[in-house]
């Protein structure tokens, strides 16, 4: 009888310890947090702009959506697809460091690219936001 009581007590204590450890292990996130969405706008002349994070393009409802930052020995470019349409622009020499930064940035780095009617990126920016972590 005593042995049964000891075993029950041990079990209850083990469960309580596990519960306490679980409660301590829980962390609470604070600060602003919201998901980024992928966005593109094309004008009728072929110019336009796209923005978002790689994670947002990946999470898009468009199963073919993607964004990419490309560099080879000749040029650097930004490209992608959203809602069935592609975008693609070639970076100017002064924008190449930004493309390289984006290529090595985290999936949550927010970027915006504007492209003109000649296929050039007219502006390119990268923005790291805690809200997208």
């Amino acid at each position: 009888m005593n042995q049964l009581r000891t075993t029950t007590t041990k079990t209850v204590l083990s469960l309580l310890t596990a519960l306490a450890a679980f409660a301590v292990a829980q962390t609470s996130d604070a600060g602003a947090s919201y998901p980024s969405s992928a966005y593109c706008n094309w004008n009728t002349d072929g110019s336009g702009a796209c923005s978002g994070t790689l994670a947002a393009f990946r999470a898009s409802s468009d199963p073919n959506a993607y964004a990419a930052f490309f560099s080879n020995s000749a040029y650097s470019s930004v490209e992608g697809q959203l809602n069935g349409r592609f975008f693609y622009c070639v970076a100017s020499p002064s924008q190449v460091p930004v493309v390289q930064t984006l290529a090595s940035a985290t999936p949550t780095a927010f970027f915006t690219v504007w492209f003109n009617t000649t296929g050039s990126c007219t502006n390119l920016q990268v923005y790291s936001l805690s809200q997208f972590l």
Binding site: D45, G46, A74, E79, F86, F87, Y88, T118, G119, S120
Partner: protein, 172 residues
């Protein structure tokens, strides 16, 4: 006797006033003088910091941090610097472009040949990876030509005239 009492009372009152002045008013004045001196010192220090900030920031950023807020002159100065930086960036790109060597006859011939292939590809409306790779191989030794080709593909893609089979089909 009464006059003597009055005189003593007056003297006592005067002594109290003098004591009060010495204990309260004089230290307050001395404190005011010290505060004035500190404010002058602070003002001089701020002016020096602002000059240093302007000197440091002028060459690399359009934004000047000032402790006293921005006025119309500051905004004009910032706008002028942004224009100057834009011009400097455009000039850098133009210099890089100008430094590119003139294409050789072989490169010109390759560009002409490739142009036909690109036109055909755009007419087809479809960019296949093998086509773009072939074009890239033909222009391997012509980075400027490849860059220009990438721009042509970009224009066709952005206007919806050309659909790449997959991402690598975008890069000659």
């Amino acid at each position: 006797m009464s006059a003597a009492r009055t005189s003593i009372a007056a003297l006592a009152a005067a002594a109290c006033v003098a004591l009060g002045f010495g204990l309260v008013v004089a230290p307050m004045r001395a404190q005011d003088a010290r505060i004035d001196a500190l404010l002058r010192e602070l003002s001089a220090s701020r002016a020096q910091q602002e000059r240093a900030t302007v000197d440091t920031e002028t060459s690399r950023s359009p934004v000047v941090v000032r402790s006293g807020g921005l006025d119309a002159r500051d905004l004009d100065a910032i706008a002028a610097r942004i224009v100057a930086l834009d011009h400097a960036e455009a000039k850098t790109d133009a210099l890089v472009a100008a430094e590119a060597k003139a294409p050789t006859p072989a490169q010109l011939a390759a560009r002409s040949d490739v142009q036909h292939q690109v036109d055909a590809m755009i007419a087809r409306g479809h960019a296949r990876r093998e086509d773009v790779h072939a074009i890239g191989s033909e222009m391997e030794s012509d980075p400027e030509g490849r860059t220009e080709l990438a721009r042509q593909l970009a224009v066709a893609i952005n206007t919806g005239k050309l659909v790449p089979d997959d991402p690598p089909a975008m890069h000659p």
